[in-house]
Symmetry: C2
Subunit: 319 residues, 2 copies
Protein backbone atom coordinates (compact mmCIF):
# COMPACT_ATOMS: atom_id res chain seq x y z
CA UNK A 1 0.00 0.00 0.00
CA UNK A 2 1.70 3.20 -1.13
CA UNK A 3 0.47 6.75 -1.58
CA UNK A 4 -0.31 6.28 -5.29
CA UNK A 5 -2.47 3.22 -4.46
CA UNK A 6 -4.45 5.14 -1.82
CA UNK A 7 -5.08 7.92 -4.33
CA UNK A 8 -6.03 5.32 -6.94
CA UNK A 9 -8.72 3.91 -4.63
CA UNK A 10 -10.11 7.37 -3.99
CA UNK A 11 -10.12 8.13 -7.72
CA UNK A 12 -12.04 4.89 -8.38
CA UNK A 13 -14.88 5.94 -6.05
CA UNK A 14 -14.79 9.50 -7.38
CA UNK A 15 -14.29 9.03 -11.11
CA UNK A 16 -13.63 12.08 -13.23
CA UNK A 17 -17.04 12.82 -14.71
CA UNK A 18 -15.67 15.51 -17.00
CA UNK A 19 -18.07 17.56 -14.98
CA UNK A 20 -18.61 21.18 -15.70
CA UNK A 21 -18.16 21.99 -12.02
CA UNK A 22 -14.53 21.02 -11.53
CA UNK A 23 -12.50 21.71 -14.65
CA UNK A 24 -9.46 19.80 -13.40
CA UNK A 25 -9.72 17.43 -10.46
CA UNK A 26 -7.55 14.70 -8.92
CA UNK A 27 -4.13 13.91 -10.32
CA UNK A 28 -2.50 17.27 -10.89
CA UNK A 29 -0.69 19.68 -8.57
CA UNK A 30 -3.91 21.59 -7.92
CA UNK A 31 -7.55 21.69 -9.01
CA UNK A 32 -9.19 24.19 -11.35
CA UNK A 33 -12.69 25.52 -10.84
CA UNK A 34 -14.63 28.68 -11.58
CA UNK A 35 -17.63 30.27 -9.85
CA UNK A 36 -20.50 31.41 -12.03
CA UNK A 37 -20.44 35.00 -13.16
CA UNK A 38 -21.88 37.30 -10.47
CA UNK A 39 -21.01 34.86 -7.68
CA UNK A 40 -18.42 35.03 -4.92
CA UNK A 41 -16.27 32.09 -3.80
CA UNK A 42 -16.97 30.85 -0.26
CA UNK A 43 -14.09 29.08 1.49
CA UNK A 44 -14.06 27.04 4.69
CA UNK A 45 -12.13 24.18 6.27
CA UNK A 46 -12.72 21.83 9.17
CA UNK A 47 -10.76 19.32 11.21
CA UNK A 48 -12.13 15.82 11.82
CA UNK A 49 -9.66 13.97 14.02
CA UNK A 50 -9.69 10.48 15.45
CA UNK A 51 -9.84 10.69 19.24
CA UNK A 52 -11.17 14.25 19.20
CA UNK A 53 -14.07 14.21 16.74
CA UNK A 54 -14.63 10.47 16.32
CA UNK A 55 -13.56 7.16 17.82
CA UNK A 56 -12.31 4.28 15.71
CA UNK A 57 -14.06 1.68 17.87
CA UNK A 58 -17.36 3.57 18.15
CA UNK A 59 -18.10 5.40 14.91
CA UNK A 60 -18.93 3.48 11.73
CA UNK A 61 -16.45 4.20 8.92
CA UNK A 62 -19.20 5.44 6.60
CA UNK A 63 -20.38 7.93 9.26
CA UNK A 64 -16.83 9.31 9.48
CA UNK A 65 -16.86 9.74 5.70
CA UNK A 66 -20.29 11.38 5.71
CA UNK A 67 -19.74 13.65 8.66
CA UNK A 68 -16.31 15.04 7.74
CA UNK A 69 -17.83 16.56 4.61
CA UNK A 70 -21.27 17.39 6.04
CA UNK A 71 -19.92 19.44 8.94
CA UNK A 72 -17.59 21.45 6.69
CA UNK A 73 -20.50 22.06 4.31
CA UNK A 74 -22.51 23.36 7.28
CA UNK A 75 -20.30 26.48 7.27
CA UNK A 76 -21.26 26.98 3.63
CA UNK A 77 -24.94 26.68 4.60
CA UNK A 78 -24.39 29.28 7.31
CA UNK A 79 -23.22 31.73 4.62
CA UNK A 80 -26.36 31.11 2.58
CA UNK A 81 -24.15 29.57 -0.12
CA UNK A 82 -24.08 26.36 -2.15
CA UNK A 83 -21.17 23.91 -1.88
CA UNK A 84 -19.48 23.12 -5.19
CA UNK A 85 -16.33 21.09 -4.54
CA UNK A 86 -14.03 19.98 -1.74
CA UNK A 87 -10.42 19.09 -0.99
CA UNK A 88 -9.78 16.07 1.22
CA UNK A 89 -6.62 15.89 3.35
CA UNK A 90 -6.12 12.60 5.09
CA UNK A 91 -3.48 10.95 7.23
CA UNK A 92 -4.34 7.27 7.22
CA UNK A 93 -3.05 4.66 9.68
CA UNK A 94 -2.00 1.42 7.92
CA UNK A 95 -4.64 -0.47 9.95
CA UNK A 96 -7.40 1.61 8.32
CA UNK A 97 -6.31 1.25 4.69
CA UNK A 98 -8.40 -1.92 4.18
CA UNK A 99 -12.14 -2.48 4.66
CA UNK A 100 -12.45 0.56 6.92
CA UNK A 101 -11.24 2.78 4.11
CA UNK A 102 -13.85 1.39 1.71
CA UNK A 103 -16.60 2.19 4.24
CA UNK A 104 -15.19 5.65 4.75
CA UNK A 105 -15.18 6.34 0.99
CA UNK A 106 -18.75 5.01 0.71
CA UNK A 107 -20.02 7.51 3.31
CA UNK A 108 -17.99 10.32 1.80
CA UNK A 109 -19.32 9.56 -1.67
CA UNK A 110 -22.89 9.52 -0.37
CA UNK A 111 -22.42 12.95 1.24
CA UNK A 112 -20.70 14.28 -1.89
CA UNK A 113 -23.67 13.20 -4.05
CA UNK A 114 -26.31 14.40 -1.59
CA UNK A 115 -24.67 17.80 -1.07
CA UNK A 116 -23.70 18.15 -4.76
CA UNK A 117 -20.13 18.80 -3.73
CA UNK A 118 -17.49 17.17 -5.93
CA UNK A 119 -14.09 15.92 -4.84
CA UNK A 120 -11.53 18.23 -6.48
CA UNK A 121 -8.26 17.19 -4.84
CA UNK A 122 -6.42 16.72 -1.57
CA UNK A 123 -3.33 15.42 0.15
CA UNK A 124 -2.64 12.00 1.62
CA UNK A 125 -0.07 10.92 4.18
CA UNK A 126 0.34 8.36 6.93
CA UNK A 127 -0.02 8.63 10.71
CA UNK A 128 -0.85 6.37 13.64
CA UNK A 129 -4.13 8.24 14.05
CA UNK A 130 -6.65 9.02 11.32
CA UNK A 131 -6.50 12.77 10.65
CA UNK A 132 -8.95 14.42 8.30
CA UNK A 133 -9.19 18.00 7.13
CA UNK A 134 -11.82 19.03 4.62
CA UNK A 135 -11.89 22.30 2.67
CA UNK A 136 -15.23 23.10 1.05
CA UNK A 137 -15.48 25.62 -1.76
CA UNK A 138 -18.90 27.09 -2.45
CA UNK A 139 -20.47 30.02 -4.23
CA UNK A 140 -22.97 32.69 -3.30
CA UNK A 141 -24.55 35.47 -5.30
CA UNK A 142 -22.40 38.61 -4.95
CA UNK A 143 -23.48 40.60 -1.89
CA UNK A 144 -25.98 37.97 -0.66
CA UNK A 145 -23.79 36.07 1.83
CA UNK A 146 -25.16 35.75 5.36
CA UNK A 147 -22.61 37.15 7.77
CA UNK A 148 -22.34 36.98 11.53
CA UNK A 149 -21.99 40.72 11.75
CA UNK A 150 -25.37 42.05 10.62
CA UNK A 151 -27.56 41.65 13.73
CA UNK A 152 -29.10 44.78 15.32
CA UNK A 153 -30.84 45.40 18.63
CA UNK A 154 -34.50 44.46 18.30
CA UNK A 155 -33.91 41.66 15.76
CA UNK A 156 -35.50 38.36 16.64
CA UNK A 157 -33.27 35.34 17.19
CA UNK A 158 -34.21 32.05 15.49
CA UNK A 159 -32.87 28.51 15.34
CA UNK A 160 -33.69 25.62 13.04
CA UNK A 161 -34.43 22.12 14.28
CA UNK A 162 -34.08 20.87 17.81
CA UNK A 163 -31.08 21.81 19.96
CA UNK A 164 -29.00 19.27 21.85
CA UNK A 165 -30.19 16.39 19.71
CA UNK A 166 -26.72 15.39 18.43
CA UNK A 167 -25.21 15.51 21.90
CA UNK A 168 -28.03 13.33 23.20
CA UNK A 169 -27.21 10.97 20.33
CA UNK A 170 -23.53 10.93 21.32
CA UNK A 171 -24.52 9.91 24.86
CA UNK A 172 -26.44 6.96 23.40
CA UNK A 173 -23.52 6.00 21.18
CA UNK A 174 -21.31 5.87 24.28
CA UNK A 175 -23.84 3.58 26.00
CA UNK A 176 -24.02 1.20 23.02
CA UNK A 177 -21.42 -1.57 22.92
CA UNK A 178 -19.19 -1.74 19.87
CA UNK A 179 -19.67 0.21 16.65
CA UNK A 180 -22.65 2.59 16.90
CA UNK A 181 -25.93 1.87 15.13
CA UNK A 182 -28.38 4.62 14.17
CA UNK A 183 -31.18 3.17 16.28
CA UNK A 184 -33.08 6.46 16.49
CA UNK A 185 -33.25 10.07 15.26
CA UNK A 186 -30.82 11.41 17.87
CA UNK A 187 -28.08 8.90 17.09
CA UNK A 188 -28.69 9.44 13.39
CA UNK A 189 -28.19 13.18 13.84
CA UNK A 190 -24.93 12.60 15.69
CA UNK A 191 -23.62 10.20 13.03
CA UNK A 192 -25.06 11.68 9.83
CA UNK A 193 -25.79 15.40 10.37
CA UNK A 194 -27.44 17.26 7.52
CA UNK A 195 -26.16 20.76 6.80
CA UNK A 196 -29.07 23.18 6.45
CA UNK A 197 -28.23 24.18 2.88
CA UNK A 198 -31.78 24.72 1.61
CA UNK A 199 -32.63 26.93 4.59
CA UNK A 200 -29.40 28.90 4.22
CA UNK A 201 -29.90 29.71 0.55
CA UNK A 202 -33.57 30.54 1.17
CA UNK A 203 -32.64 33.01 3.92
CA UNK A 204 -29.91 34.55 1.75
CA UNK A 205 -31.87 34.79 -1.47
CA UNK A 206 -34.92 36.23 0.27
CA UNK A 207 -32.63 38.62 2.21
CA UNK A 208 -34.57 37.55 5.26
CA UNK A 209 -31.77 37.06 7.82
CA UNK A 210 -29.73 40.01 9.07
CA UNK A 211 -27.05 37.62 10.43
CA UNK A 212 -26.48 33.88 10.58
CA UNK A 213 -24.08 31.17 11.71
CA UNK A 214 -24.19 27.43 12.22
CA UNK A 215 -24.33 25.85 15.66
CA UNK A 216 -21.34 23.54 15.90
CA UNK A 217 -19.99 24.10 19.42
CA UNK A 218 -23.31 24.68 21.21
CA UNK A 219 -25.57 27.72 21.61
CA UNK A 220 -23.76 29.06 24.71
CA UNK A 221 -20.43 29.13 22.83
CA UNK A 222 -21.68 30.12 19.40
CA UNK A 223 -24.27 32.84 20.17
CA UNK A 224 -21.65 35.08 21.90
CA UNK A 225 -19.58 34.87 18.67
CA UNK A 226 -22.47 36.13 16.56
CA UNK A 227 -23.11 38.87 19.14
CA UNK A 228 -19.42 39.90 19.23
CA UNK A 229 -19.27 40.07 15.43
CA UNK A 230 -22.40 42.26 15.38
CA UNK A 231 -21.45 44.36 18.41
CA UNK A 232 -24.67 43.47 20.22
CA UNK A 233 -25.99 41.24 23.00
CA UNK A 234 -28.84 38.74 23.17
CA UNK A 235 -31.59 37.57 25.48
CA UNK A 236 -32.56 33.93 25.12
CA UNK A 237 -36.00 32.96 26.37
CA UNK A 238 -35.45 29.61 28.04
CA UNK A 239 -39.02 28.38 27.69
CA UNK A 240 -38.99 28.86 23.96
CA UNK A 241 -35.92 26.68 23.28
CA UNK A 242 -36.71 23.67 21.05
CA UNK A 243 -35.29 20.99 23.36
CA UNK A 244 -35.15 17.22 22.93
CA UNK A 245 -37.57 14.96 24.73
CA UNK A 246 -35.91 13.74 27.90
CA UNK A 247 -37.17 12.33 31.18
CA UNK A 248 -35.48 15.18 32.97
CA UNK A 249 -36.34 18.61 31.53
CA UNK A 250 -33.22 20.16 33.05
CA UNK A 251 -31.01 17.66 31.18
CA UNK A 252 -32.76 18.59 27.95
CA UNK A 253 -32.16 22.28 28.69
CA UNK A 254 -28.44 21.74 29.36
CA UNK A 255 -28.16 19.85 26.08
CA UNK A 256 -29.95 22.63 24.20
CA UNK A 257 -27.70 25.33 25.69
CA UNK A 258 -24.34 23.59 25.57
CA UNK A 259 -24.57 20.53 23.30
CA UNK A 260 -22.37 20.65 20.23
CA UNK A 261 -22.50 19.09 16.76
CA UNK A 262 -26.11 20.05 15.91
CA UNK A 263 -25.25 21.96 12.71
CA UNK A 264 -28.52 23.84 12.93
CA UNK A 265 -28.65 27.46 11.79
CA UNK A 266 -28.84 30.35 14.24
CA UNK A 267 -30.13 33.50 12.52
CA UNK A 268 -31.55 36.92 13.24
CA UNK A 269 -34.48 38.62 11.53
CA UNK A 270 -35.42 42.30 11.62
CA UNK A 271 -38.63 43.17 13.50
CA UNK A 272 -40.51 44.03 10.33
CA UNK A 273 -39.70 40.68 8.71
CA UNK A 274 -40.51 38.31 11.59
CA UNK A 275 -43.99 37.61 10.20
CA UNK A 276 -42.36 36.30 6.99
CA UNK A 277 -40.63 33.48 8.91
CA UNK A 278 -42.79 30.34 8.71
CA UNK A 279 -43.05 27.78 11.54
CA UNK A 280 -41.13 25.34 9.38
CA UNK A 281 -39.19 25.50 6.13
CA UNK A 282 -39.43 22.33 4.02
CA UNK A 283 -40.30 20.33 7.14
CA UNK A 284 -37.50 21.86 9.23
CA UNK A 285 -38.85 23.56 12.35
CA UNK A 286 -37.93 27.23 12.85
CA UNK A 287 -38.20 28.62 16.37
CA UNK A 288 -37.94 32.14 17.70
CA UNK A 289 -35.78 31.79 20.84
CA UNK A 290 -35.17 35.39 21.87
CA UNK A 291 -34.06 38.83 20.86
CA UNK A 292 -30.94 40.81 20.04
CA UNK A 293 -30.21 43.54 22.61
CA UNK A 294 -28.22 46.75 22.62
CA UNK A 295 -26.52 45.75 25.88
CA UNK A 296 -23.52 43.57 24.94
CA UNK A 297 -24.30 40.63 27.18
CA UNK A 298 -25.77 37.25 26.42
CA UNK A 299 -28.41 36.43 29.01
CA UNK A 300 -31.03 33.79 29.71
CA UNK A 301 -34.55 34.87 30.58
CA UNK A 302 -36.56 32.46 32.72
CA UNK A 303 -39.70 33.26 34.67
CA UNK A 304 -38.99 36.97 34.46
CA UNK A 305 -35.42 36.64 35.78
CA UNK A 306 -32.32 37.07 33.63
CA UNK A 307 -28.91 35.53 34.28
CA UNK A 308 -25.69 35.49 32.28
CA UNK A 309 -25.31 32.60 29.83
CA UNK A 310 -21.89 31.02 30.49
CA UNK A 311 -20.11 29.55 27.45
CA UNK A 312 -19.99 25.84 28.28
CA UNK A 313 -20.08 24.40 24.78
CA UNK A 314 -17.30 22.58 23.01
CA UNK A 315 -13.85 24.17 23.29
CA UNK A 316 -10.89 21.87 22.63
CA UNK A 317 -8.57 24.17 24.62
CA UNK A 318 -10.68 23.99 27.77
CA UNK A 319 -10.91 20.20 27.91
CA UNK B 1 -5.80 29.82 26.68
CA UNK B 2 -8.99 28.97 24.82
CA UNK B 3 -9.86 28.69 21.14
CA UNK B 4 -11.08 32.31 20.92
CA UNK B 5 -7.76 33.52 22.37
CA UNK B 6 -5.72 31.53 19.86
CA UNK B 7 -7.80 33.00 17.03
CA UNK B 8 -7.39 36.45 18.57
CA UNK B 9 -3.59 36.13 18.45
CA UNK B 10 -3.72 35.02 14.82
CA UNK B 11 -6.03 37.94 13.96
CA UNK B 12 -3.60 40.37 15.62
CA UNK B 13 -0.73 39.25 13.36
CA UNK B 14 -3.01 39.17 10.33
CA UNK B 15 -5.19 42.25 10.78
CA UNK B 16 -8.09 42.77 8.45
CA UNK B 17 -6.73 45.23 5.91
CA UNK B 18 -10.09 45.71 4.25
CA UNK B 19 -8.12 44.35 1.37
CA UNK B 20 -9.64 44.02 -2.02
CA UNK B 21 -8.35 40.46 -2.26
CA UNK B 22 -10.32 38.80 0.52
CA UNK B 23 -13.77 40.35 0.85
CA UNK B 24 -14.50 38.62 4.15
CA UNK B 25 -11.73 37.00 6.18
CA UNK B 26 -11.35 35.69 9.74
CA UNK B 27 -14.23 35.69 12.15
CA UNK B 28 -17.16 34.38 10.15
CA UNK B 29 -18.27 30.87 9.22
CA UNK B 30 -16.38 31.04 5.92
CA UNK B 31 -14.36 33.48 3.83
CA UNK B 32 -15.49 35.32 0.71
CA UNK B 33 -13.22 35.95 -2.25
CA UNK B 34 -13.54 36.36 -6.00
CA UNK B 35 -11.11 35.67 -8.85
CA UNK B 36 -10.67 38.37 -11.46
CA UNK B 37 -12.84 38.12 -14.52
CA UNK B 38 -11.35 35.72 -17.07
CA UNK B 39 -9.45 33.78 -14.40
CA UNK B 40 -9.94 30.29 -12.99
CA UNK B 41 -9.66 29.39 -9.31
CA UNK B 42 -6.72 27.11 -8.42
CA UNK B 43 -7.13 24.98 -5.29
CA UNK B 44 -4.58 22.94 -3.36
CA UNK B 45 -3.92 21.73 0.18
CA UNK B 46 -0.93 20.31 2.00
CA UNK B 47 -0.20 18.58 5.27
CA UNK B 48 2.61 19.78 7.53
CA UNK B 49 2.79 17.48 10.53
CA UNK B 50 5.05 17.42 13.53
CA UNK B 51 7.11 14.23 13.50
CA UNK B 52 6.53 13.66 9.79
CA UNK B 53 7.36 16.98 8.14
CA UNK B 54 9.12 18.80 10.95
CA UNK B 55 10.56 18.18 14.41
CA UNK B 56 9.74 20.37 17.38
CA UNK B 57 13.30 20.15 18.77
CA UNK B 58 15.04 20.70 15.42
CA UNK B 59 13.06 23.15 13.30
CA UNK B 60 12.78 26.81 14.31
CA UNK B 61 9.17 27.88 14.87
CA UNK B 62 9.40 30.61 12.22
CA UNK B 63 10.63 28.05 9.65
CA UNK B 64 7.57 25.90 10.40
CA UNK B 65 5.38 28.96 9.78
CA UNK B 66 7.19 29.88 6.57
CA UNK B 67 7.41 26.40 5.13
CA UNK B 68 3.81 25.26 5.73
CA UNK B 69 2.60 28.06 3.46
CA UNK B 70 5.53 28.06 1.01
CA UNK B 71 5.22 24.36 0.15
CA UNK B 72 1.47 24.60 -0.41
CA UNK B 73 2.05 27.65 -2.62
CA UNK B 74 4.54 25.59 -4.63
CA UNK B 75 1.60 23.62 -6.08
CA UNK B 76 0.14 26.93 -7.22
CA UNK B 77 3.47 27.80 -8.88
CA UNK B 78 3.41 24.41 -10.62
CA UNK B 79 0.09 25.37 -12.21
CA UNK B 80 1.55 28.65 -13.49
CA UNK B 81 -0.85 30.48 -11.18
CA UNK B 82 -0.63 33.20 -8.54
CA UNK B 83 -1.56 32.53 -4.90
CA UNK B 84 -4.24 34.87 -3.53
CA UNK B 85 -5.32 33.64 -0.11
CA UNK B 86 -5.02 30.66 2.23
CA UNK B 87 -6.88 28.78 4.94
CA UNK B 88 -4.88 27.63 7.97
CA UNK B 89 -5.98 24.56 9.93
CA UNK B 90 -4.00 23.95 13.08
CA UNK B 91 -4.09 21.56 16.00
CA UNK B 92 -1.89 23.14 18.63
CA UNK B 93 -0.38 21.38 21.67
CA UNK B 94 -0.72 23.46 24.85
CA UNK B 95 3.09 23.52 25.17
CA UNK B 96 3.34 25.38 21.84
CA UNK B 97 0.75 28.10 22.52
CA UNK B 98 3.36 30.46 24.04
CA UNK B 99 6.60 31.84 22.54
CA UNK B 100 6.73 29.07 19.95
CA UNK B 101 3.40 30.17 18.54
CA UNK B 102 4.61 33.78 18.20
CA UNK B 103 7.63 32.56 16.21
CA UNK B 104 5.39 30.40 14.07
CA UNK B 105 3.10 33.33 13.28
CA UNK B 106 6.10 35.53 12.47
CA UNK B 107 7.36 33.06 9.84
CA UNK B 108 3.87 32.54 8.46
CA UNK B 109 3.32 36.28 8.19
CA UNK B 110 6.63 36.74 6.39
CA UNK B 111 5.68 34.04 3.85
CA UNK B 112 2.20 35.51 3.47
CA UNK B 113 3.66 38.96 2.67
CA UNK B 114 6.39 37.62 0.38
CA UNK B 115 4.02 35.36 -1.57
CA UNK B 116 1.20 37.93 -1.56
CA UNK B 117 -1.13 35.34 -0.15
CA UNK B 118 -3.54 36.58 2.52
CA UNK B 119 -4.92 34.62 5.45
CA UNK B 120 -8.63 34.16 4.77
CA UNK B 121 -9.71 31.73 7.49
CA UNK B 122 -9.09 28.36 9.06
CA UNK B 123 -9.87 26.00 11.89
CA UNK B 124 -8.13 25.59 15.24
CA UNK B 125 -8.19 22.70 17.65
CA UNK B 126 -5.90 21.04 20.19
CA UNK B 127 -3.74 17.92 19.99
CA UNK B 128 -0.61 16.53 21.61
CA UNK B 129 1.20 16.97 18.31
CA UNK B 130 1.25 20.08 16.16
CA UNK B 131 -0.82 19.36 13.04
CA UNK B 132 -1.00 21.85 10.20
CA UNK B 133 -2.97 21.77 7.00
CA UNK B 134 -2.83 24.67 4.58
CA UNK B 135 -5.22 25.27 1.67
CA UNK B 136 -3.98 27.80 -0.87
CA UNK B 137 -6.37 29.46 -3.30
CA UNK B 138 -4.88 31.01 -6.40
CA UNK B 139 -5.93 32.22 -9.81
CA UNK B 140 -4.76 31.62 -13.36
CA UNK B 141 -5.86 33.09 -16.66
CA UNK B 142 -8.58 30.84 -18.14
CA UNK B 143 -6.98 28.07 -20.23
CA UNK B 144 -3.39 28.95 -19.28
CA UNK B 145 -2.85 26.56 -16.35
CA UNK B 146 0.18 24.26 -16.60
CA UNK B 147 -0.99 20.67 -16.27
CA UNK B 148 0.90 17.45 -15.77
CA UNK B 149 -0.83 15.89 -18.73
CA UNK B 150 0.48 17.86 -21.72
CA UNK B 151 3.89 16.30 -22.37
CA UNK B 152 4.55 14.60 -25.74
CA UNK B 153 7.33 12.36 -27.02
CA UNK B 154 10.21 14.50 -28.20
CA UNK B 155 9.61 17.30 -25.67
CA UNK B 156 12.65 18.33 -23.67
CA UNK B 157 12.62 17.91 -19.90
CA UNK B 158 13.79 20.81 -17.74
CA UNK B 159 14.24 21.53 -14.03
CA UNK B 160 14.82 24.75 -12.18
CA UNK B 161 17.53 25.21 -9.54
CA UNK B 162 19.70 22.47 -8.09
CA UNK B 163 18.26 19.07 -7.18
CA UNK B 164 18.83 17.43 -3.81
CA UNK B 165 19.77 20.69 -2.13
CA UNK B 166 16.99 20.61 0.49
CA UNK B 167 17.70 16.98 1.38
CA UNK B 168 21.39 17.82 1.80
CA UNK B 169 20.23 20.67 4.06
CA UNK B 170 18.12 18.26 6.11
CA UNK B 171 21.17 16.04 6.66
CA UNK B 172 23.04 19.05 8.04
CA UNK B 173 20.13 19.99 10.28
CA UNK B 174 20.25 16.48 11.74
CA UNK B 175 23.98 16.86 12.43
CA UNK B 176 23.51 20.22 14.17
CA UNK B 177 22.75 20.10 17.89
CA UNK B 178 19.56 21.81 19.05
CA UNK B 179 17.35 24.06 16.93
CA UNK B 180 18.65 24.36 13.36
CA UNK B 181 20.37 27.48 12.12
CA UNK B 182 20.48 28.43 8.44
CA UNK B 183 24.29 28.33 8.29
CA UNK B 184 24.38 27.88 4.51
CA UNK B 185 22.30 27.81 1.32
CA UNK B 186 21.37 24.12 1.62
CA UNK B 187 20.02 24.44 5.16
CA UNK B 188 18.25 27.65 4.17
CA UNK B 189 16.55 25.84 1.29
CA UNK B 190 15.40 23.06 3.63
CA UNK B 191 14.05 25.53 6.21
CA UNK B 192 12.75 28.34 4.01
CA UNK B 193 11.99 26.99 0.52
CA UNK B 194 10.86 29.50 -2.10
CA UNK B 195 8.07 28.40 -4.42
CA UNK B 196 8.97 29.15 -8.03
CA UNK B 197 6.04 31.46 -8.63
CA UNK B 198 7.69 33.88 -11.05
CA UNK B 199 8.98 31.01 -13.20
CA UNK B 200 5.58 29.30 -13.16
CA UNK B 201 3.63 32.33 -14.31
CA UNK B 202 6.29 33.12 -16.95
CA UNK B 203 6.03 29.58 -18.36
CA UNK B 204 2.23 29.74 -18.33
CA UNK B 205 1.81 33.20 -19.77
CA UNK B 206 4.38 32.57 -22.52
CA UNK B 207 2.72 29.18 -23.21
CA UNK B 208 6.22 27.76 -23.16
CA UNK B 209 5.76 24.59 -21.09
CA UNK B 210 3.69 21.69 -22.42
CA UNK B 211 3.48 20.19 -18.88
CA UNK B 212 4.74 21.04 -15.42
CA UNK B 213 4.74 19.94 -11.79
CA UNK B 214 6.69 20.79 -8.67
CA UNK B 215 9.31 18.46 -7.20
CA UNK B 216 8.23 17.75 -3.65
CA UNK B 217 8.89 14.02 -3.21
CA UNK B 218 12.05 13.75 -5.36
CA UNK B 219 12.62 13.38 -9.11
CA UNK B 220 12.38 9.57 -9.10
CA UNK B 221 8.90 9.70 -7.48
CA UNK B 222 7.56 12.81 -9.19
CA UNK B 223 8.71 12.36 -12.81
CA UNK B 224 6.77 9.06 -13.19
CA UNK B 225 3.63 10.95 -12.11
CA UNK B 226 4.06 13.55 -14.84
CA UNK B 227 4.74 10.75 -17.34
CA UNK B 228 1.67 8.76 -16.23
CA UNK B 229 -0.56 11.85 -16.52
CA UNK B 230 0.77 12.51 -20.04
CA UNK B 231 0.79 8.86 -21.15
CA UNK B 232 4.49 9.00 -22.01
CA UNK B 233 7.90 7.96 -20.65
CA UNK B 234 11.13 9.87 -20.08
CA UNK B 235 14.87 9.46 -20.43
CA UNK B 236 16.94 11.38 -17.89
CA UNK B 237 20.54 12.13 -18.86
CA UNK B 238 22.46 11.56 -15.63
CA UNK B 239 25.41 13.81 -16.52
CA UNK B 240 23.17 16.79 -17.14
CA UNK B 241 21.51 16.76 -13.68
CA UNK B 242 22.15 19.95 -11.69
CA UNK B 243 23.50 18.28 -8.54
CA UNK B 244 24.77 19.82 -5.32
CA UNK B 245 28.47 20.08 -4.60
CA UNK B 246 29.47 17.11 -2.51
CA UNK B 247 32.76 15.34 -1.82
CA UNK B 248 31.27 12.16 -3.23
CA UNK B 249 29.66 12.62 -6.64
CA UNK B 250 27.54 9.50 -6.18
CA UNK B 251 26.00 10.94 -2.99
CA UNK B 252 25.14 14.12 -4.89
CA UNK B 253 23.52 12.03 -7.63
CA UNK B 254 21.41 10.05 -5.16
CA UNK B 255 20.24 13.32 -3.59
CA UNK B 256 19.35 14.75 -7.01
CA UNK B 257 17.37 11.64 -8.01
CA UNK B 258 15.60 10.87 -4.76
CA UNK B 259 15.86 13.88 -2.43
CA UNK B 260 12.55 15.50 -1.52
CA UNK B 261 11.45 18.99 -0.49
CA UNK B 262 13.22 20.94 -3.27
CA UNK B 263 10.06 22.64 -4.59
CA UNK B 264 11.76 23.24 -7.92
CA UNK B 265 9.69 23.06 -11.10
CA UNK B 266 9.91 20.13 -13.51
CA UNK B 267 8.59 21.08 -16.94
CA UNK B 268 8.57 19.98 -20.55
CA UNK B 269 9.05 22.11 -23.65
CA UNK B 270 8.23 21.22 -27.25
CA UNK B 271 11.20 20.72 -29.58
CA UNK B 272 10.52 23.92 -31.52
CA UNK B 273 10.48 26.03 -28.33
CA UNK B 274 13.61 24.75 -26.60
CA UNK B 275 15.71 27.61 -27.95
CA UNK B 276 13.36 30.05 -26.17
CA UNK B 277 14.32 28.63 -22.76
CA UNK B 278 17.13 30.75 -21.25
CA UNK B 279 19.94 29.30 -19.08
CA UNK B 280 18.40 31.12 -16.13
CA UNK B 281 15.19 32.97 -15.42
CA UNK B 282 15.58 35.89 -13.00
CA UNK B 283 18.73 34.32 -11.59
CA UNK B 284 17.16 30.84 -11.26
CA UNK B 285 19.10 28.24 -13.23
CA UNK B 286 17.12 26.21 -15.80
CA UNK B 287 18.63 22.91 -16.93
CA UNK B 288 17.62 20.50 -19.69
CA UNK B 289 17.90 17.06 -18.05
CA UNK B 290 16.47 14.75 -20.69
CA UNK B 291 13.67 14.01 -23.07
CA UNK B 292 10.12 12.71 -23.12
CA UNK B 293 9.79 9.33 -24.88
CA UNK B 294 6.96 7.43 -26.52
CA UNK B 295 7.92 4.28 -24.58
CA UNK B 296 6.15 4.50 -21.20
CA UNK B 297 9.19 3.92 -19.00
CA UNK B 298 11.28 6.31 -16.99
CA UNK B 299 14.94 5.53 -17.55
CA UNK B 300 18.35 6.93 -16.69
CA UNK B 301 20.93 7.33 -19.45
CA UNK B 302 24.56 7.19 -18.35
CA UNK B 303 27.57 6.62 -20.61
CA UNK B 304 25.35 5.27 -23.38
CA UNK B 305 23.62 2.73 -21.08
CA UNK B 306 19.99 3.09 -19.92
CA UNK B 307 18.51 1.59 -16.75
CA UNK B 308 15.11 1.90 -15.12
CA UNK B 309 14.73 4.75 -12.63
CA UNK B 310 13.27 3.25 -9.43
CA UNK B 311 10.97 5.52 -7.41
CA UNK B 312 12.90 6.01 -4.18
CA UNK B 313 11.69 9.47 -3.20
CA UNK B 314 9.51 10.35 -0.27
CA UNK B 315 6.45 8.14 0.23
CA UNK B 316 4.92 8.18 3.71
CA UNK B 317 3.33 4.76 3.13
CA UNK B 318 6.62 3.07 2.34
CA UNK B 319 8.46 4.26 5.44
Amino acid sequence: MNENEIIGRIAKVFPDHRSRTVELGLGDDAALWRPRSGYQVVLTCDWFLEGTHFLRDKHPADAVGWKCLARAASDIAAMGAKPRCFLLSMAVPLALTGKWFDGFLRGLKRASSKLRCELAGGDTTRQEQMLINVTVIGEVRQGHALRRSGASAGDSLFVSGRLGEADAGLAEVKRQTGIARATNERVRKHLYPEPRLALGTWLAEGQLATAAMDLSDGLSSDLPRLCAASGVGARVEVDSLPVVNARNHDDALQLALHGGDDYELLFTVAKGDVARVPRAYRGLKLTRIGEITREKRVVLLKEGVTRKLEACGWDPFRK
